[in-house]
Assembly symmetry: C2
């Protein structure tokens, strides 16, 4: 069986914890990682506090193959991610000439004040991550990728590094949509899961236009097994008197 | 100074980690907690895995005043939150007659199959949380509140318990919107933060309609201090040649 490559995401930002900002990065990163065969296994949203960032990153980088962070690499006093990562790795935070050169693509020399120059402070030994939107780079140190929090910039950074990740086999999925609540088929679904331990069967009820429905997601690395289980889910639904669609699609 | 009442949220669900579903619960809970003077300090998104749920809940319930969980209390095999919480607290999971009675408000007796009855399995000693939408209850055990993942149900459950939370002083905030990037005022803003250690100054750049802007959020428990600092932010922006709005509003 293929080895699972596992990642964690750390969303750094008081603005998400306060409810001021709706996070828009988790889903983008989750879907992008899945494309390259990396599985997002944990997400933490933490405040702009140095000790919390250090402890969280140090724990997760030992537990997971990859750690991604978003947020806290701008020019203001509350942007403390870079110095916290340097401390987590116990390396100095240095003014990086490569990063200064990139800032100068966007900012006139006379406007490159001390605050903006903070965006060129990079932990020693890190590789820069391109920022095609506003040039202030992210960086990679060991298995930790440090990216901006602004979604447009984060997405450009992530798209640039995605190809460098070494993933395992992609998880394939088929979604079967059932015209009824999950309670009707839940017993049979549990039995199907027990009989097919190599796939994961998820059940997600929804309420749309006043009617109840359920999406059953079958995931696994073996396309044949996924397809077979999805068909069994369709048969189960019909045996319970519910219409089902999607079970004959190829896994993707 | 008022004691800070701190909470953590655990979002339980493979569907969020896979990117299939965009979480819609974090922001609602964050804003609701803020209303009653409870501060959300950490969020974790974790998979439907019993050992992870147990370890996460046991860690966080000792670290925070309140822990909220969403997801995993439905009728299907992947709904394992209730049994995991029972194990975390080392109490038995029992068929709860109060919960069965509630299920019977929604489900005809002949349709109350074994799977649906799982929704009435509640850890011993827990108080039920009302579910005015579909009746299957959540529950509270110690400082842990276990709620549904479907946003409409979660919101109804949360609104029902919010009044029982014992919060500290509310954080008041003023937002100052500045017509320019944060790099221009960052140096001055850092100085303002150092001079006003009892308030938190957050800086959130945005890009709208092709223009850059920044929202500065000043938060604190003392309305006078918040208002004063917000005005100082406005003056700072103007001294840097940028228009600023909002600094004269009352903190809310």
């Amino acid at each position: 069986m293929a080895v699972e490559v596992r990642a964690a995401l750390v969303i750094i930002g008081n603005e998400v914890l306060s409810g001021r900002t709706q996070d828009a990065n988790l889903q983008f990163i989750a879907l992008g990682l899945a494309e390259v065969g990396v599985r997002l296994k944990e997400v933490r949203v933490i405040p702009d506090e140095q000790s919390v960032i250090i402890d969280t990153v140090n724990l997760l980088r030992r537990q997971f193959d990859y750690v991604f962070t978003t947020g806290g690499i701008g020019p203001t006093h509350d942007d403390i991610t870079s110095e916290s990562i340097a401390k987590a790795f116990d390396v100095p935070l240095l003014r990086d000439p490569r990063a200064v050169e990139r800032l100068l693509r966007q900012i006139k020399p006379e406007n490159l004040n001390e605050a903006r120059l903070r965006m060129a402070n990079i932990p020693q030994g890190a590789d820069l991550i391109d920022n095609p939107v506003s040039h202030a780079p992210g960086f990679r140190l060991g298995n930790v990728f440090v990216m901006a929090g602004v979604p447009r910039i984060m997405q450009a950074m992530f798209d640039g590094i995605k190809g460098d990740l070494r993933g395992g086999a992609r998880l394939l999925a088929v979604e079967v949509t059932i015209a009824g609540g999950e309670g009707v088929i839940a017993d049979g679904l549990g039995a199907l899961q027990r009989q097919n331990a190599d796939v994961e069967i998820g059940s997600y009820p929804f309420n749309r236009d006043g009617g109840y429905g359920t999406v059953i997601v079958v995931r696994g690395r073996d396309g044949g097994q996924v397809a077979q289980t999805a068909q069994a889910v369709g048969h189960l639904a019909k045996a319970c008197g519910l219409a089902a669609t999607g079970q004959d699609q190829a896994p993707k």
